[in-house]
């Protein structure tokens, strides 16, 4: 199992264990991580599973695909470290990953 930590805007941290092969969004939904709305259910069609990848992890999570970049246009306060977590696959290499949940999904 892979450990992923979600940090809320108020600083609260929640570490979830995720099975390899799932998406990070699915792991977050299973653990009821607040602020990961995932309205479309993982179709890369809504931009409501927006997260910021913590410094040091961006190389491992990689950059968004063109489709994901397009969908990030619908997110709020998009930054260089922005990803849609339905598009990040859980792998052993991501054990210890730290993600920040934005103040607002929309």
């Amino acid at each position: 199992m892979v450990k992923i930590t979600f940090i809320q805007p108020d600083g609260t941290a929640q570490t979830v264990t995720a099975e390899e092969g799932l998406t990070v969004m699915e792991a977050a939904k299973m653990a009821d991580v607040p602020g990961i709305d995932a309205e479309c259910g993982g179709a890369c069609a809504c931009a409501t599973c927006h997260v910021y990848v913590d410094a040091g992890w961006r190389e491992k999570t990689g950059a968004p695909s063109d489709m994901e970049e397009d969908m990030l246009d619908f997110a709020f306060d998009v930054r260089e470290e922005s990803r849609l977590c339905c598009q990040i696959k859980v792998t052993a290499a991501l054990d210890g990953l730290v993600l920040r949940v934005p103040a607002k999904q929309f």
Binding site: E39, A43, A45, C46, L72, D73, D77, V78, K104, F106
Partner: protein, 349 residues
């Protein structure tokens, strides 16, 4: 799709059933109701059939529709349209039912946002996650400016004449309104988070030409705040790589895609449970007799938000709807495989 528009000044469209939502469950409801001789009009806020299947994931495969090991959202929609063709449903796209009231005779009078009216004996709410509505940027106080300075669509272009207009977004809506409003506006600023646009290449080129000519100001950045007075927007704060800048704006048009909201259904006097409509599991009827709810929008013990569950709900709902429309008709259960009368309705005999 053979939409029959009533003549101007004519009364409401009279029909057996109005189905709200043209997603898979709404479409299949046409089939089940049609087999029982009920005529349907289908209303959907989107411009095309398929609901979430065609709006959110037209290319995505679905693996749990019985007998179709793999089908995309668009294929499923197309097949349902083919299946319901014999029943000639009338579609009303790009419209939302805003008002619903029971008439003294028991029928329901409905009015769309475009002013079209329906008079129906049965209403089927198959509205999925609700109606698709433009996303509201999460900026403090934005509600106060909506309809006066902040607009999610353009009703009258003239309203923007001589104004300082800010268009926000990077898709076709943002580009189209940039191109259309630029000649009227006093100034037009297009704001997008990156210098890369999703819209049609022709529109992107046209926009870039106007930028080169100094007719459109292109800003790469994001909104962080609004300031104004008594419902009138004055400035929008924009964060760019150079820092924050306040720009003077009379009208702002944000285009950030669509989200699903329950919408006016909440005002129709139907019992709700956290934006879902509780129904019984015999007829899938709401707290109001004659108003049914099927698919993702309903809730009951054990509910699963699956397309196949919505299909089942449509079949049972149709039986109950038939009793309302034809109270004296003896109901004989029949199979499409063997019933001559059902096959005749399907046009296969």
């Amino acid at each position: 799709m053979n939409a029959v528009e009533p003549a101007a000044g004519a009364g409401p469209i009279e029909t057996d059933v109005v189905i709200i939502g043209a997603g898979p469950c709404g479409l299949f409801a046409v089939f089940e109701l049609g087999l029982l001789d009920l005529k349907c009009h289908v209303v959907d806020i989107l411009g095309k059939p398929g609901g979430q299947c065609s709006e959110l994931y037209p290319e995505k495969p679905i693996y749990d529709v019985p007998a179709l090991p793999i089908v995309t959202g668009q294929e499923l929609t197309d097949r349902l349209l083919e299946q319901i063709k014999p029943f000639n449903p009338v579609f009303h796209f790009g419209e939302r039912i805003d008002a619903l009231a029971r008439e003294p005779g028991g029928r329901f009078l409905m009015t769309t946002d475009a002013g079209k009216q329906f008079l129906a004996k049965v209403v089927v709410i198959a509205a999925g996650g609700g109606s698709f509505t433009p996303k509201r940027p999460p900026l403090d106080g934005i509600e106060a400016y909506e309809g006066t300075s902040v607009f999610y669509s353009v009703r009258r272009m003239e309203d923007f004449r001589g104004k300082d207009v800010l268009v926000v977004g990077g898709g076709d809506s943002a580009l189209d309104w940039t191109l259309n409003l630029q000649p009227l506006a006093r100034s037009l600023t297009l704001l997008h988070r990156r210098d890369d646009f999703r819209g049609a290449p022709h529109s992107v080129n046209e926009m870039r030409r106007l930028v080169d000519e100094g007719k459109v100001r292109l800003m790469i950045g994001q909104m962080t705040g609004l300031d104004g007075d008594a419902g009138t927007l004055q400035t929008v704060t924009v964060k760019t790589s150079a820092g924050e800048e306040k720009i003077a704006v009379d009208a702002m048009l944000p285009f950030f895609g669509l989200t699903m909201k329950l919408g006016p259904i909440a005002d129709w006097g139907i019992n709700l449970n956290e934006n879902l409509i509780p129904v019984d599991t015999e007829k899938f009827e709401t707290s109001e007799k004659g108003i049914f709810a099927i698919g993702d929008i309903n809730t009951y013990p054990g509910k699963l938000k699956l397309i196949l569950s919505g299909f089942h709900e449509a079949a049972l709902m149709a039986q109950a709807a038939q009793k309302i429309v034809y109270p004296d008709k003896k109901v004989v259960f029949q199979y499409t495989t063997s019933s001559s009368s059902l096959q005749k309705k399907l046009g296969v005999k």
